[in-house]
Symmetry: C4
Subunit: 232 residues, 4 copies
Amino acid sequence: MLEELKKRVYEANMLLPKYGLVTFTWGNVSEIDRESGIFAIKPSGVEYDKLTPEDMVLVDLNGNKVEGKYNPSSDTATHVELYKAFKDIGGVVHTHSSYATSWAQAGRSIPCYGTTHADYIYGEVPCVRCLTKDEIEDAYEENTGKLIVSEFNARNLDPVAVPAVLCKNHGPFAWGKDAHEAVHNAVVLEEVGKMAYRAETINPRIQPAPQELQDKHYYRKHGANAYYGQGK
Amino acid sequence: MLEELKKRVYEANMLLPKYGLVTFTWGNVSEIDRESGIFAIKPSGVEYDKLTPEDMVLVDLNGNKVEGKYNPSSDTATHVELYKAFKDIGGVVHTHSSYATSWAQAGRSIPCYGTTHADYIYGEVPCVRCLTKDEIEDAYEENTGKLIVSEFNARNLDPVAVPAVLCKNHGPFAWGKDAHEAVHNAVVLEEVGKMAYRAETINPRIQPAPQELQDKHYYRKHGANAYYGQGK
Amino acid sequence: MLEELKKRVYEANMLLPKYGLVTFTWGNVSEIDRESGIFAIKPSGVEYDKLTPEDMVLVDLNGNKVEGKYNPSSDTATHVELYKAFKDIGGVVHTHSSYATSWAQAGRSIPCYGTTHADYIYGEVPCVRCLTKDEIEDAYEENTGKLIVSEFNARNLDPVAVPAVLCKNHGPFAWGKDAHEAVHNAVVLEEVGKMAYRAETINPRIQPAPQELQDKHYYRKHGANAYYGQGK
Amino acid sequence: MLEELKKRVYEANMLLPKYGLVTFTWGNVSEIDRESGIFAIKPSGVEYDKLTPEDMVLVDLNGNKVEGKYNPSSDTATHVELYKAFKDIGGVVHTHSSYATSWAQAGRSIPCYGTTHADYIYGEVPCVRCLTKDEIEDAYEENTGKLIVSEFNARNLDPVAVPAVLCKNHGPFAWGKDAHEAVHNAVVLEEVGKMAYRAETINPRIQPAPQELQDKHYYRKHGANAYYGQGK
């Protein structure tokens, strides 16, 4: 079932090594079929060069496997929480991409220093706290998802406008309207993490880009008045 | 019309992924036919691996599309301003290349620390200020071009000798006698941005290269007494 | 003899250039057959693109060559000491991979800043001191191995849980249950060295990941309660 | 004439792009035939992907072209000075490789922080001063060579044991017994420049490797008691 979905999720997973976002099996992509409430996700620990579309695992929003010969990604419960809370997203990706993970290890949100960032992500990429000991020991992956959601709510962030997050001492999650856009945003995140890292070294007194410039670039590409690209 | 021009502009655009200067569609190259006052430029948001010479868009110096099935690059109005003001240039390129963009985000001009820089760019690569709120909201891309021109005039810079600029919180533009040379200068800019970044880390009290060394290398390659290469 | 062993060691050696861990001949991998007490190791100074499985050298735990037309790696005596003391390991690798070697040159252990590290290495990657003048002049390579072993004992470290070490002013050794896993751990080491380097730049007041998070990730992948991957 | 020499020099030049040491035409390699006192060198400004063995230019130790359709490298006069003074070297290379050039721009010698460096280069890689205004304006390239030689003499350095130098605000020269070894040393230089850059960031109070460790590694590979590799 959902063969097209599995194929798209397979292809989106294969973009991770193509864009240099993964070492070994350190990443997973999923996409949800909102009608059935079922999503396809990479199996756990299977190497990218051995992956096939049929290997994708189907999971429902209770986290139960619906179809597949493999165990789903160990991060499946995080994907479930994000899909349940963020109704407008259709794809989720987790990686240990190098710069984004370094920011996560450092425990810092990535400020918006320029238009490369503002073109895709509205405002800083938030870094959420570590889970507590209790949260870790009891349903770690589920609690990771719940924490992201509660922090987005507390900060009043729109997950469509802020399609990425850093989990302190862990790494990034990104998302989008489908698996392909989620991976696209993960690439953007890695690039802006790299540029912000270097920009802070070049100028330790750096400030975020002016709000009006951030607005201009974000809305040049998003929303009713967007004029970048070839239109709809 | 202008098939040769479109082919050259296509080829120059394809050098951007070859030299690692672009992620996704984050760059555009143009070249002008000075006789007709028409330039060819990359269409907006079209992926590099799908691009063909026929996709190039022809635009006049009023910014009006003359030929092409696609919308031209969203930065077209900046190209127009540069061509109108800098009469001796024939090609323009905009990228979000990583090091140059990091310097732009940091809001700093790139000092000339060595001969790699001096061989191609006379003196520092200037970083121009952000646009004001009014300038952003009214004709952003056109005002970007006008600001570059007015800053070059105010600093008494010759755009032939200084073939690159950084726009604060945004990224670089580079140019040259044609599209190919513009891209060549964009590669140089990225390299000198990378070296300057590292050199400042290695020696925080670094000073620019002596003026006489900068002169020697610049004029070894440019002007009547140049002796690098195989002559004309 | 031991043709399968030589083939595996050859293949593991060839992973070093594949993963970008070596320049020229700066690395070597071995794997031991515990039954016979003989291990296969790369020959000294032979280039990777000329290497064949037959070139692997067989050596016993007294460091004597048992078979092979070439001299074994100049680091053979270090491998011997590690195999003699660390009974549960089956493969050893030495490289001059760039980030790990930079940490070794800096003389610092790599703190565990995140789950990328904790997934594979329990606690920091220790950096052991330089050998003394006497230790260097008398049996340098053997003493390198003895020092690693005595430092692991003194720090009460389990070499299975901490499968890597940095030798001050020299570089890393890594190991695993076989040659392939040893190389895998060397790749992990390089990645965590890179991330830790950047994370400290991003946040100079960075602290190691909480112990409970390190435990969670390590034991998610190792031991009786592991649930990452597809099980046994 | 000297067809074998030209072929070797061509091949050594082609190693520069292979090892990532050059952008565009920013590098040149030569090798001398000591019997005739003639060396082959890359032509000036010719792109690597168009180069052929026949394009190599033959030059004598007065700097006069002996054979070749092209002008020799603009740095030819520097090569001449190095061959005249350093009798035991047979190949010379100049690049603008990124890390080595950054150290040169910073005006700092590269300390020996580890065995990767000590395996090939005895002690620090010296950075020589900028030329004076007079030295630049009168025979710049020749004076670059003379300065390197006089600094090596003043510091009592053996060019066989220290096969590389940095020219302040310019870049590196390296050399060896032939063109191939010269390029090999240029690769080593870039690697040790990269590691030293990172090691200083990891530990700002870093000290050079102990002299006895430097000696051990240098003499493990060089001289009468060398035991690395497969012998002669």
